[in-house]
Point group: D2
Amino acid sequence: MPHTLLDTKALEDVLKKFADARDWQQFHSPKNLAMALTGEVGELVEIFQWRTEEESWLVAQAPETAQHVRQELADVALYLIRLASVLKVDLNAAIQDKLVINAKKYPPL
Amino acid sequence: MPHTLLDTKALEDVLKKFADARDWQQFHSPKNLAMALTGEVGELVEIFQWRTEEESWLVAQAPETAQHVRQELADVALYLIRLASVLKVDLNAAIQDKLVINAKKYPPL
Amino acid sequence: MPHTLLDTKALEDVLKKFADARDWQQFHSPKNLAMALTGEVGELVEIFQWRTEEESWLVAQAPETAQHVRQELADVALYLIRLASVLKVDLNAAIQDKLVINAKKYPPL
Amino acid sequence: MPHTLLDTKALEDVLKKFADARDWQQFHSPKNLAMALTGEVGELVEIFQWRTEEESWLVAQAPETAQHVRQELADVALYLIRLASVLKVDLNAAIQDKLVINAKKYPPL
């Protein structure tokens, strides 16, 4: 595995500056960010809820959902990276460790 | 803003190989992955639910939660990146576009 | 404990008729309803995400959130009851059994 | 429509006594209960995530999931009723109002 699977540094910096410039640090506790992440995942799931699995493959191409799904995926990513950042969790290292655990738990066929 | 805020390519490749080696493509429809993402966010939120905002700052340091929160953050990241990947959404581009929208919607102070 | 803690019969009937009258049975698989439940919980959580615990006590009284929180609580209830209904789960019995389990797991002080 | 679609009074009383007997009022802020609700919905969704819509009809009958899904449905119900209760929201009235709104928004065929 490469040393870095997901480099979040640049985005963490942008998000910190974005929050600082709006005086949002007071709202960005880990507890609150975990809730915000939940809310965004809820909005993402709503795109899929009445679609079949087969239809779900098309949501990023279909004109009526393409922009929406991109925006909701982005929102989830933004809150996830921000949450890891305020918790001072190295998300890349956490991912690497979890992949090792998963590979042991679910051996390849 | 730098051209790349979040480079997901290396992780997308690892996750694709991981799924292929276990014959998991059949399960990894966007609809199913959105549900799996929900489940993992639920597990992450459970860490915070009975903690105050103040206590929530400590979960990544406190010995009884440090590993757990790292693992749940990783799980959320893994399903998010995998979902964007199977949808063929360029998550970096989606993030950049969403940040522009957010900056207009919430001007700095 | 009284024999019936939560009588869902009347609401189940109303929801079934509501779905039938709109030809929604085709969408109301348990999988889809579980997703819809998630989406509604996400909307409910959004009301609380930037509020402190103390502020959260006031959301059902504060004019800017009172109607919203009532509607989201209702939406969550509607999908939960509908999901239990299509699964033919007796929610009252399930609740009674779970309360016995919880009482054993968490003895009173 | 009958006057009462969902009578939550008996369950609210049981849940209040349950919390009081364990000194849990300190944890049961609306914000925290909304998070706990999220966590339980996440556990419920996990039952469905890798199952097809067709398979999802069977989870309450299949021996490997029947008890699990009943328990998770109960957990979601318990936190939902408790949340409405601490917010002093009349869930039955909220449901009746929401059904009127829904009927206008989605007229029958």
